[in-house]
Structures are given as C-alpha cells and as structure tokens.
Amino acid sequence: MAMVAEIDVPDDWEQSPMAGPVAFMARPRHHDGQVRPTVTVTCALEGSRPSLDHYAEVQLAGTYATFGGYLLFLELTCEPQRRLDLALAIEQMGTDLTIVQRHLLHPDGWAVVATGTVSDADWPAAAPRVLAAVRSLRVVRS
C-alpha cells in the first residue's frame, strides 16, 4: 500500500524527503534559536486495525516510553475521521521541548502522523505555524 500524506508547509520553510518510515520533514530555512523547529510526517501500517481508544492507549504508552515528559493536551475524535491529537512537554539531549502530534487513523489499518518539535524557548513565537502545519495533515492518495 502506498500512502501519500501532506501538510501545509509555511512559505519560508523547506521540505525534505526522508528514507524509511519518515515520509518527509519540514522546517524553517533559517532559525536563530538553538533548536530549529521541525515537523515530520510518518506513515505506518497498523496491522491489527485497532479501535481509536486502543490505538491511543498504545501510542501514549509508546510515546511515554520514548519521550517521557508531561502530557499537556490529549484529544480523541472520530469526526470527520478518527484522529488523535496530543502535546507533550519533554526534555531530550539537554533541551526542553514541546512535542505536538496529530495521528490520522484509517479503518483499513494504516495511520499517518505529523509531529512538531519545538524548543520551549521558541514555542510562543513558533506555535501558530507549527500547530497549523501539524493540524493540516491529510492523506492525498493511498
């Protein structure tokens, strides 16, 4: 199955294709802070075709195992499609980061995920554009 997911990339950002499960990464061409904000989009096949609740449970457990941190926001909805949104405050490699994610879950068992990563120091200024990019996630072909 070939899935193509896309997001609205801000005009002054660059988008790079990636190998492996990461479909692409987008980030500002120039950034003055220590950590350049990024939005990565990944496509995954969920073979078990989980319910949204089960998917959220597994994803949260995996996210905590990977990142740890503090859960800032969590929302599950089935309209207009099955979706999980979350935000975490974490620390990684000596940096305090805000992670925002949107997961879109298809009944056929595949999922696409947009992950925004922003230094806490940059969050107030970067949040509007990073959130808009993450929340624009959509599948254009599968």
């Binding site: 926001f73 929302e75 405050a89 230094s119 107030p124």
Partner: protein, 227 residues
C-alpha cells in the same frame, strides 16, 4: 538531635527545611551556623565530614544565582501551601511547602532554567482535555470560585501563579486559572480594570475559556522573561 533532613541519593529525594537550607548555604560560603542546625544536617547526611552532600551542591548553586522567582497558590479543600519557584543560572528549585522556616520541603531541582515551564505545569497539574470550563464568562465574585474550589470532594481547581523577573521585585499575578478536573479550563481576569490581580478578595472576575496549549504558551514565556 531531631532532623527533617532526607538525602536519598538512590531516588534523588531531598527534604530540608528553609532554615536548614539557609544554614547549608552559610556553611558553603564559609560562614557559620548554629551547632544544633549542623548536628541536624549531619544526622540527615546533608553534611558529610563537614562537606555539603553532592546532591545538594547544585541546589545551593541555583539558590545563589536566583534571577526570577514565582509563587503558586492553589485553592483546595484543606491546607494548600504556596509553592515557591526559584530560577537562576544554576537551574530551577521548587520549595513546595510554604514559607514556614521549619516546615520540611520536598525539594525539586532541575539543572536548566528553561525547564521552568514544565516544572510549573507539573505543579499546576491541569487537565489535558479541552472542554467547557467550570464557569462561563459572566462576571461573578472571586469568592464564588474560591468556594467551589475548596469544597471537599469538589471537581473545580483554582490557582494563582505570581511571578517576578528579578529576585527583588514584587510578585505579580501572571496567570490565574480555574478548571474542571475532568477537563475544561479558564483564565480568570478582573471583570473591571483594577490595580490588583484577579485573585483579590472582593473582586468581581470573569472566566475566559482557554485551550490547554494556550496556557502552556503562557508558561513557556516565563523563562524568556528572565534577564
């Protein structure tokens, strides 16, 4: 010798009173402390062979370099002490048990001042779910919010975060929040322009619905305000 001191390197737990912290700071900078305080610090292994325990040294370094300072007051059933947040070049120290000099404090320390947003978020412990806040935006007495938050078994939270960008400055409210424990939060603001904060007794306030990420954005500005 009675001592509230706990220095547990295994789990990183540090418990000291403000008075004991002050004595440690005095000793670390070459000044003296009372024999009774020194005995208590030794009994709790905060002082080992006359030297400050390694777990406490970064805490003292932070306290010696304080730039910004905050105070978080929460209204709940029963006594809820004010937590003090101290931010300096050495990191962030949280003293959660109020201003009493002899009250044991479960110290929290973090090495980076930029961690202050996450540490305050953890102290606030706001719900992660968006939703309708416990009060709409109709002007109402501040006392009504306090009454709801302090009911035993109630589901309403209320907190006032005060902040000063410089150590000697007066603390002023930067965020007053009311929330429903199951999700749904609001920023509390004075209904009319006043010189005090929204938390003043007798004030009429309005509750303006906020998304959890809007509140997070306010918290992330705290570190940026330090100069």
């Amino acid at each position: 010798v009675t001592s509230a001191v706990v220095v547990d390197a295994g789990i990183g737990r540090l418990v000291l009173t403000r008075r004991q912290l002050g004595a440690l700071a005095d000793l670390a900078s070459g000044r003296t402390a009372s024999p009774e305080l020194i005995a208590g610090l030794e009994a709790g292994h905060a002082l080992v062979d006359g030297a400050v325990h390694p777990l406490l040294r970064p805490v003292l370094r932070t306290l010696a370099s304080i730039q910004g300072r905050g105070a978080l007051r929460q209204w709940r059933a029963g006594v809820q002490p004010v937590a003090e947040i101290l931010v300096g070049a050495g990191g962030v120290v949280v003293l959660p048990a109020g201003p009493d000099q002899d009250e044991p404090q479960e110290l929290r320390w973090h090495p980076r001042p930029t961690a202050v947003a996450r540490m305050v978020a953890e102290l606030l412990d706001l719900p992660a779910d968006d939703g309708l806040p416990p009060f709409d935006d109709t002007p109402r007495p501040w006392a009504e919010l306090v009454e709801a938050a302090t009911q035993t078994g109630g589901a309403v939270g209320l907190a006032d975060l005060r902040w000063a960008d410089h150590f000697g400055d007066v603390l002023t409210s930067v965020l007053v929040m009311a929330w429903r424990s199951g999700g749904g939060m609001a920023e509390v603001q004075p209904a009319e322009a006043t010189t005090g904060g929204a938390e003043r007794s007798g004030t009429t306030v309005r509750c303006l619905r906020r998304h959890p990420l809007e509140v997070w954005t306010v918290l992330t500005t705290l570190a940026a305000r330090l100069t």
